[in-house]
């Protein structure tokens, strides 16, 4: 559906331009001598010359525009000398020699008589210079500067100038700005047919700004006076509103999905550890933080050793962060938690001590500031999909990352010997031990796996969150709620709960604010636990 519409959007103005430039009257070149004479004349003549140029600007050949631009520039900078035999361009103000404005022949100038500009003339002159810069500027910056000048006096600039500038523009961002400005100008044009066409054109590319622009027209006198205009406006507004609502809905779904995937990444490791050993790992947030810092380390290593491959550091960081944080987890398990398996509340305090230690270790060694990450092209920017909905690459990265992690973790748990051991110990530790499974070794590996998943969450967070020593504490409460809601030790439950909590947060936030969203989610979870105290998907186990 978008394709044909876009086709018309491009082709129709182009055809229109062709038709218009083919008509002899509008193709007339600039009368250079008369223009120079106007600029040399009195105030009224100067204004006439400048405004005449702006009016004709849409159709003039490029070299005429360049000529006019040189003259206007010289006039503004007082390098234009007006003699009886014609205008002379000087290299610098009050030079003794210059070139004839029209013919370009060198001409001596005894005493320079530079015309003085009044306030009114200056405004007209600026608009004319802006028009020339917009149409013939060498680079997008120059054309953008011209555009901003034109924008200030948009009422005096004919649509043809903007259309021509838009069609010739190569820079996509600037092109969009010009198109928007052209539409806005057309909306307030005196010609009713042109206005209705502009409304249709605005409605064809819906966005929040288009909606606001159209809604503003409702207070226009023509809305009550002209039924055709009213019908066109109402239809256009309805179309835009619908599209904007759909686009906003898509954005909510997308944001909810990305938030859910972050929650899932943060909670997956927690769920495995909790389910297997009954250990609440309060240091999980700090493991995520360690993963992010490992990513930073990989980035710095790339910067030193292989600057050309810097963009790939995020992928290189995946195994590094997983390995480093898994190792940290295994060390914590071996040194501390191993002794506390029968005392879950004490292991909770022990992991809190670990988290306190880690936060302050990073704080002392690296500092408290946010880390600066290089954002490779694949995680910066986004693609506008529909109305105001922009699919940002960094969130897409997080979603894809979480999906890949989910698949891999499920494969590990369901298809590998380690996964079989983990599931056996989760279901019945004593029985598994009787059958000869080294349950303590399984615990250690599972703790490593769970910690490694937190490290991966750290990688996924780098393009989205600010990375600092305190980042873990902001995530830990949310991910605990996900684990409790999902049912301990169930990866699928964790996924569903993450989707639920993430979705609820994103849905409620725009209505009643972030705090209310957290309150409602918490109350919802408490109410839910009234019915299912073990969470959504409790792992069935014997005790």
């Amino acid at each position: 559906m978008a394709e044909p519409r876009r086709f018309y959007l491009w082709v129709l103005p182009a055809l229109w331009c062709l038709v218009h430039s083919a008509t002899p009257a509008s193709a007339a070149p600039l009368d250079r001598a008369a223009f120079a004479a106007d600029l040399c004349g009195d105030g009224a003549a100067q204004v006439r010359g400048a405004e005449g140029l702006v009016q004709a600007g849409g159709d003039l050949p490029a070299d005429d525009l360049a000529f006019a631009g040189r003259l206007l520039g010289a006039l503004a900078e007082r390098r234009l000398s007006c003699r009886a035999e014609g205008a002379v361009l000087l290299d610098r103000p009050s030079a003794s020699e210059g070139r004839d404005a029209v013919s370009g022949a060198p001409r001596p100038v005894a005493e320079a008589r530079a015309p003085v500009l009044g306030l009114r003339q200056r405004a007209a002159l600026e608009t004319a210079r802006g028009t020339v810069a917009l149409l013939t500027g060498a680079d997008p910056a120059a054309r953008g500067a011209g555009l901003s000048v034109v924008e200030r006096r948009i009422a005096t600039v004919p649509a043809a100038v903007l259309d021509r500038a838009r069609d010739a523009e190569t820079d996509p961002a600037l092109k969009g700005t010009i198109a928007g400005l052209a539409q806005a100008a057309a909306l307030s044009s005196p010609d009713p047919a042109r206005r209705r066409a502009a409304i249709a054109a605005v409605a064809a590319s819906p966005s929040g700004t288009a909606q606001a622009r159209l809604a503003a027209l409702k207070s226009d006198p023509a809305y009550t006076a002209d039924p055709a205009f009213r019908a066109a406006l109402d239809a256009g507004l309805a179309q835009v509103s619908r599209a904007v609502a759909i686009g906003d809905g898509l954005a909510v779904v997308y944001n909810g999905l990305s938030f859910a995937s972050i929650l899932f990444m943060a909670a997956a490791g927690l769920a495995i550890i909790f389910g297997l050993m009954g250990v609440i790992n309060l240091a999980q947030g700090e493991f995520i933080m360690l993963g992010a810092y490992a990513t930073y380390g990989v980035q710095e290593a790339f910067r030193r050793l292989a600057p050309g491959l810097l963009d790939l550091y995020l992928f290189a960081a995946i195994p590094v962060a997983f390995g480093a944080v898994a190792l940290a987890g295994i060390v914590v398990e071996a040194l501390i938690l191993r002794h506390l398996y029968r005392r879950p509340l004490m292991s909770l305090l022990a992991t809190w001590a670990v988290s306190l230690f880690l936060v302050n270790l990073v704080r002392v060694t690296v500092g408290t500031q946010n880390l600066q990450f290089v954002m490779p092209a694949y995680v910066s920017g986004g693609v506008p999909l529909y109305a105001d909905f922009v699919m940002t690459w960094n969130r897409l990265f997080a979603i894809g990352f979480a999906a890949a992690t989910l698949v891999l973790t499920l494969l590990i748990l369901r298809r590998t010997p380690l996964g079989l051991d983990i599931r056996a110990v989760t279901q019945n530790r004593d029985m598994a031990a009787c059958l000869g499974l080294p349950t303590r070794r399984v615990d250690r590996l599972a703790f490593g796996l769970g910690s490694g998943l937190a490290g991966l969450a750290g990688v996924a967070l780098c393009p989205i969150y600010s990375v600092n020593p305190g980042m873990g504490s902001g995530l830990i409460v949310d991910s605990f709620m996900v684990v409790v809601l999902g049912g301990v030790g169930s990866l699928v439950g964790t996924l569903v709960a993450a989707l639920g909590v993430g979705g609820a947060n994103v849905l409620i936030e725009p209505i009643s604010g972030a705090v209310a969203a957290k309150v409602i989610v918490l109350v919802g979870i408490i109410l839910f636990l009234q019915r299912r105290p073990e969470g959504l998907f409790a792992v069935r186990r014997r005790r």
Partner: protein
């Protein structure tokens, strides 16, 4: 673990004698009373007096957690919430009282551009109303939350996590500026206490003495409670809740009642704490602070009331000293202390004194 019910239901004795028969608690109560008398007789530097008073408030808070954690096995990671309720209501009273006497509105009211205190502050300039309100509010919040949790048998680590989420959400709520409770800056600048200028030596000493006396009363009261029939039921519930329920006791009602009492004691600590530090802000609701309360109890010794007092005073005393002397080292020392206690002294520092009195539910661990 199976022997829990029998040991807990051992022969009772008279209530007063039982309180005295715990030499640790009796000693601590005596120490509190001596310290209070000492403060009144000799007047040390106000800084020391104030520190002593704050430590007493923390000790009350620790006792309130020990009551539910040590005797019921319910670890609350959200006890800061009840502490904050007491503190906030106390701060509201101090500000309302100050505004009623001096006619100057608190800073945050002027900051929000309001003309008067919010409507629900009405009557808070009366100390007795504020006191009752603080306790009632803490009890009510505890009741609602506890009812929802205990009825559906959310317990163990689940309960800990949910209570942590509760305090976290409360923190987010209090960071908002439109609640009429000072927002992220909290409430400060209390001018008067019962008409006396805040910060004068008499008020500082009076607050410290009040905190010490309250600590003594709380210790004696909770010791009587845990020594009574209810206390034995609490231990039984902690050691084997299913069995106690099967025997026909309503464990939900028992847990809910003790939980509410504990919350009100925590609120009492908050009421005593805020006038001594002169400020309350949402940071008391940070999950970390609530966990720290559990750390005090664990370090001192779980399930023996006196241990909580010793832990709270030791950790906070160290903190007062070290966070001034070497602020960077304090977190490392605290985490090291926790790990040491958790790994080597599973029953807290009291293990150093007495190995035999380890509670049943901690015996048999590796």
């Amino acid at each position: 673990m199976s022997g829990g019910v029998q040991t807990a239901l051992a022969a009772p004795a008279g209530p007063a004698r039982r309180a005295v028969r715990d030499p640790l608690v009796a000693g601590l109560v005596g120490l509190c009373l001596t310290a209070a008398a000492g403060l009144l007789v000799a007047s040390p530097a106000p800084y020391l007096v104030n520190a002593l008073g704050q430590l007493a408030a923390f000790a009350i808070l620790a006792v309130s957690l020990d009551l539910v954690w040590g005797y019921l096995g319910i670890l609350s990671l959200g006890h800061g919430l009840f502490f904050a309720i007491g503190g906030y209501v106390c701060a509201m009273h101090l500000l309302a009282h100050g505004a009623a006497v001096t006619g100057v509105l608190p800073d945050f009211v002027q900051f929000m551009g309001w003309k008067s205190l919010p409507a629900y502050w009405a009557g808070l300039d009366h100390a007795s109303y504020a006191f009752v309100l603080a306790l009632a509010l803490a009890g009510l919040v505890a009741f609602v939350f506890g009812f929802a949790s205990f009825r559906s048998r959310v317990n163990g680590v689940y309960f800990s996590i949910i209570s942590q989420a509760l305090v976290y959400v409360a923190m987010l709520l209090m960071y908002r500026n439109d609640t009429g409770l000072g927002g992220n800056n909290g409430m400060t600048g209390f001018p008067l206490l019962f008409g006396w200028p805040m910060g004068s030596p008499g008020v500082v000493t009076g607050l410290a003495v009040a905190a010490l006396l309250t600590l003594a009363a709380v210790l004696a009261g909770t010791r009587l409670l845990v020594g009574s029939a209810i206390g034995r039921r609490m231990l039984a519930c902690r050691d084997d809740e299913t069995r106690l329920r099967t025997l026909g006791y309503s464990t939900t009602r028992l847990k809910l009642g003790i939980w509410c009492v504990s919350a009100m004691i925590a609120a009492l600590a908050g009421i005593l704490y805020v006038p001594q530090v002169g400020i309350i802000n949402p940071r008391v609701l940070a999950p970390d602070l609530s966990i720290e309360i559990a750390v005090w109890v664990a370090i001192g010794g779980l399930g023996r009331l006196g241990g909580a007092v010793i832990g709270a005073i030791l950790v906070n005393g160290l903190k007062f000293w070290l966070s001034a002397a070497m602020p960077e080292a304090w977190p490392f020392i605290l985490s090291g202390l926790v790990l040491l206690v958790v790994l080597v002294l599973p029953n807290g520092l009291l293990d150093l004194v007495d190995w035999r009195r380890r509670p049943t539910w901690l015996r048999g661990t590796r």
